[in-house]
């Protein structure tokens, strides 16, 4: 089902009946508890800003509240929610296009897992991650979005295809091309050094 109508039929269960108000609220609460972390990661993969990512997650659920009548018909809420959040991320990114993209090392250090690493090693790892993230930002848009969504653990290739409105094979080929281009850029930088 590559078409939008096909995806829509896949998401919506037409046999379901509308729930009362209380059940809709309970359903939204359950969605928040189950998918807020996933949506945060999706938003953070693009914004790389904790405040902006949280704002996008909240805006996503506000939109869910606005369309709560559709909740009863949802079959795959994860794809639906990620799609809403992804569109919000892209809108916000488009609006703040004039702002220069800078990769702050402190932001990367903040998301690094706390372990037994020394401060020097943490700094070196953060610098390396920041460099790769900068190179990811230089990739073409379609390859970049597929690569960032594939980084979110909770999303499968099929779900990424549904979110982006494309096929699984397209997603796989874009991921492959993106990784190859990224590796080439990294090797080029390493050779220059």
């Amino acid at each position: 089902m590559g078409t939008f109508e096909g995806q829509l039929v896949g998401w919506l269960d037409t046999g379901a009946v509308a729930r009362p108000e209380e059940e809709a609220q309970a359903a939204i609460t359950a969605l928040v508890q189950e998918y807020s972390t996933t949506l945060y990661r999706v938003a953070y993969s693009v914004t790389r800003n904790a405040v902006e990512a949280e704002d996008i997650v909240q805006e996503t659920f506000l939109r869910v509240l606005r369309h709560k009548s559709k909740l009863a018909e949802l079959r795959d809420p994860r794809v639906w929610l990620v799609r809403i959040a992804w569109n919000l991320v892209l809108d916000r990114k488009r609006r703040s296009k004039t702002r220069p993209e800078t990769q702050d090392i402190e932001d990367v250090v903040r998301i690094l897992p706390a372990g037994d690493l020394s401060a020097d090693k943490v700094l070196i790892a953060a610098q390396q991650h920041a460099r790769i993230l900068q190179l990811i930002d230089q990739l073409p848009f379609k390859e970049r979005e597929v690569l960032l969504l594939s980084a979110v653990e909770e999303l499968s290739t099929a779900q990424i295809a549904l979110v982006l409105g494309t096929t699984e094979s397209t997603v796989r080929s874009r991921i492959f091309r993106a990784r190859r281009a990224l590796a080439a850029k990294l090797n080029m930088e390493g050779g220059a050094r």
């Binding site: 609460t29 928040v32 972390t37 997650v57 509240l65 897992p113 790769i132 990294l186 090797n187």
Partner: protein, 175 residues
């Protein structure tokens, strides 16, 4: 291989970012605030609409208006004017006899208002200009037969002297 592992590590780090603590609580709180705000807003707007409709209805209905604004509902009904039946009987406006209840006073005319001068004496005001009639213009008066010369006629000319409205009469003998 090292490059691929570096890419994997970075993507893994990006995709496993932990949300700040209390994210769910903040989201649910904001949703509750939106729900409550929306309900209150709907209630206030519905109440305002109902109040305005009630006010308009009260203003348009005379009995409710009296009751609401004057505390009484004893407004006498307006009586329809009684028609005077035609002596010969009949219906419609053609057969109706309209008798005034009281004598209709006669409207004062311009003469009775003190402006009863002859038309030739009045001032002529075309537009805003104020033009006086020329004085001393002779107008034909009366024609009499001369007693001394019966075959001749005498014409009395009426002139208006300048500065006054008195009339003077000059007799001009007609030859």
């Amino acid at each position: 291989m090292k490059t691929q592992s570096e890419i994997d590590a970075t993507l893994r780090l990006l995709g496993s970012a932990q949300p700040p603590s209390g994210l769910e609580r903040r989201i649910l709180g904001r949703l509750d605030a939106r729900r409550g705000g929306g309900t209150t807003l709907h209630f206030v707007s519905a109440a305002a609409i109902a109040a305005s409709v009630a006010l308009v209805a009260a203003g348009l209905t005379p009995s409710i208006r009296e009751l609401a604004f004057h505390g009484t509902a004893t407004t006498p009904r307006a009586l329809a004017p009684r028609g005077v039946p035609h002596p010969a009987g009949g219906f419609g406006a053609a057969s109706a006899v309209h008798l005034p209840a009281a004598p209709i006073p006669v409207q004062p005319t311009p003469v009775s208002q003190g402006r009863g001068r002859a038309r030739s004496d009045r001032e002529w005001t075309p537009g805003s200009a104020r033009v006086r009639l020329p004085h001393g213009v002779a107008v034909p008066g009366t024609v009499t037969i001369s007693q001394s010369h019966p075959g001749r006629m005498q014409t009395h000319l009426v002139t208006i002297p300048a500065g006054s409205h008195a009339r003077a009469t000059n007799a001009v003998a007609a030859h």
